[in-house]
Amino acid sequence: MSIISVTDLHKSYGSVHALKGISFNVEEGEIYGVVGPDGAGKSTLFNILTTLLLPDSGEVSVLHKDIRKDFLEIRKYIGYLPGTFSLYPDLSVEENLIFFATMYQSSIKENMGIIKPIWQQLSPFKNRPAGKLSGGMKQKLALCCALIHKPILLFLDEPTTGVDPVSRKEFWEILKTIQQQNISVLVSTPYMDEATLCDRIALLQEGQFIKMDSPQAIIDSFQGNLVTLHTHDIFNLLHLMEQCPFHCNFYPYGEHLHVIFYEDLTTILPSFEKFLQDNNQIYNNIQQIKPTIEDCFIEITTEKKNL
C-alpha cells in the first residue's frame, strides 16, 4: 500500500488556486521528486502533506493515516526539511541537534546510526553557531535534525536551492544512503537535472501535475526529434531562428542550440543545414541527441501553450 496517497487535492488562497486537483501515490522505499518552478505549488503541497495546512478538498493519507484526523500520529513518524532555513542560528550545531532530538523524546546517541555519514562532515563545526555555517553545511545540519527521530518518511522541500553543484551532488549521495535505510523520501526541486536521480517524478506547473512517471519513461515519451548544434554566437542564431521556415521548437541549451523537429530528420535536416549556411551561420557538431528532463519539460509546457 502507498505510503502517501493523494486524490483530487485542491487548495486556494483567496482568489489564487494554488493546487488544482492533484492525485498521486508514493510507494514505500521510493525517492519521489516534485519538480517545478517557484510558485507552482510545491510548498503548499508539502505543507498539506506534513499536516501544517488543511486542504480545501480531496483525500490525503500519509502513512496510511488521514491528515485531517490523525495529524498528531503522522507527525511522530515524518521528518520535514522546510524550504527556508528553520534552525536556531544562535544555537551551536550540536545544540540544534540535541534540541530536535529532545523534542521527539529521542537522543543523538540513540539514532546516531542514521545520521552518521552526514554527522562526520559536520562534527568539526559542532560548536559553531548554526547561523555561521555555509549554505551547504546548513542544509546538512537541517537534514540531520529532520532525521534524528528516525522518521519513516522524509519530506525535503527544495533542499538544494541556492546550493553549489558540488554540495548538491553530495546531498544527493546522502539521500541515496537514507533510502537504503528504508526511509521513503518526497523531495521537491527546481533543478531539472536532479529529477533523474529520483525513482519517479511529477512535473508540477501552475498547481497541476503535467506529467508523472519514472525519469526514463518521461524521456522515452518525448514526441519530437531533438537536434543539437554548437555555435559561438547563440544570440545571433536565435534571432535567425525566428525566421526558420520549418515547423520546430528551439531554445538555447548551455552553449548549444536545441531544436525539436516533428518530422523525419533524414529529410528535414539537410534542408535545415542549408537554411543555416545560406544565412552565413557558423556552427558545428550538429547531431541528433536523446532529450534530458529539461528538454521534456520545455516540450510539454510549450505544447500546452500552443494548444
Binding site: 551547504g136 527546481p190 531539472m192
Partner: protein
C-alpha cells in the same frame, strides 16, 4: 541636490569596465577574498561562479562599494573604488536573488521610487518607465501590485528597474534562481540584448548550463580566483565536456 544621471565628460580610454587588482578582504584572521585580480571588458557577459562560502558575495559587495576592501584596488566603470564610490554607485545597477521590489507598491510605483532615488527627472523617468514596460509587454500592468504578478515577470521587472538609470555595469546575483526553464531562457535573452547595447553584465548563478551563456567565466574557490576564461577554454584546460564537470573537478581539488 539632484544627482546627474548621465556622464559624457569622463575620459573613456580603457576597454575595461571592471579592473580589479589584488583585491583582498579579511574578517579578523579569516581571508574571505584573497588577492583576486581580473578585468571585464565593456559589453561583456561575465559569469562569476564559486562554491557556497568561496567568497563570491564578499567580492561582489566590494565591487558595488558596499564593503571596503582590506587591500588591493579596483576601477569600476572608470572610477577608483577607494576614492570615487559615489560615482560608482551612480553608474552601476544591482539586482539580487531576493528582488528588491516592494510587493505592496504597484509596478509603476516601484519603478518610480527607484528612478527618483537615482535622480532621474520626472518627465524623463515617466518616458523611460513606459518604454521599458512596453519592451517587457507589461504596459497594461503598470497599476498592478507587484505581489500579484508571476515570478518570471517580477524578475524581468526587477531587471528593468535596475537598468532605469542606464548603468554601465549591472550586477546580477543569482537572477534566475527557482524559475522554470522557459522563463530562465527568456531572461537570458534580455541579458543578451542588454549586453549588445554595450552594458557590462556581471552575473552569478548556480545553474552550470547558464554559465555557458557567458562570454567569460571565473570560478572562485577558498577566496581565490585562479580559473578564468571562455567556457570553451576552461573545458579544454580542465579536460571536461561541460562547465558542471569543470566546476566539480576544480572545486574538489
Amino acid at each position: 541636490m539632484r544627482l546627474p544621471f548621465q556622464h559624457t565628460n569622463i575620459v573613456e580610454d580603457s576597454p575595461y569596465s571592471i579592473e580589479v587588482k589584488e583585491l583582498t578582504k579579511q574578517f579578523g584572521d579569516f581571508t574571505a577574498v584573497d588577492h583576486i585580480s581580473f578585468n571585464v571588458k565593456k559589453g561583456e557577459i561575465f559569469g562569476f561562479l564559486g562554491a557556497n562560502g568561496a567568497g563570491k558575495t564578499t567580492a561582489i559587495r566590494m565591487l558595488c562599494t558596499l564593503l571596503m576592501p582590506t587591500s588591493g584596488s579596483a576601477r569600476i566603470a572608470g572610477y577608483d573604488l577607494a576614492k570615487e564610490s559615489k560615482m560608482i554607485k551612480r553608474n552601476i545597477g544591482y539586482m539580487s536573488q531576493k528582488f528588491s521590489l516592494y510587493d505592496d507598491l504597484t509596478v509603476y510605483e516601484n519603478m518610480q521610487l527607484f528612478g527618483t532615488i537615482y535622480g532621474i527627472p520626472k518627465k524623463e523617468l515617466k518616458d523611460r518607465i513606459f518604454s521599458s514596460l512596453k519592451m517587457l509587454e507589461l504596459e497594461n500592468k503598470y497599476k498592478t501590485l507587484v505581489y500579484s504578478i508571476p515570478l518570471g515577470w517580477k524578475q524581468k521587472l526587477a531587471f528593468a528597474t535596475a537598468m532605469l538609470h542606464r548603468p554601465k555595469i549591472v550586477f546580477l546575483d543569482e537572477p534566475t534562481s527557482g524559475v522554470d526553464p522557459i522563463v530562465r531562457r527568456e531572461f537570458w535573452n534580455l541579458i543578451y540584448e542588454t549586453a549588445a547595447q554595450g552594458v557590462t553584465i556581471f552575473v552569478t548563478t548556480h545553474y552550470m548550463d547558464e554559465a555557458e551563456y557567458c562570454g567569460r567565466i571565473s570560478i572562485m574557490s577558498h577566496g581565490q580566483l585562479k580559473l578564468i576564461g571562455t567556457p570553451t577554454e576552461l573545458k579544454e584546460q580542465m579536460e571536461a565536456d561541460s562547465i558542471e564537470k569543470v566546476f566539480v573537478k576544480f572545486v574538489v581539488r
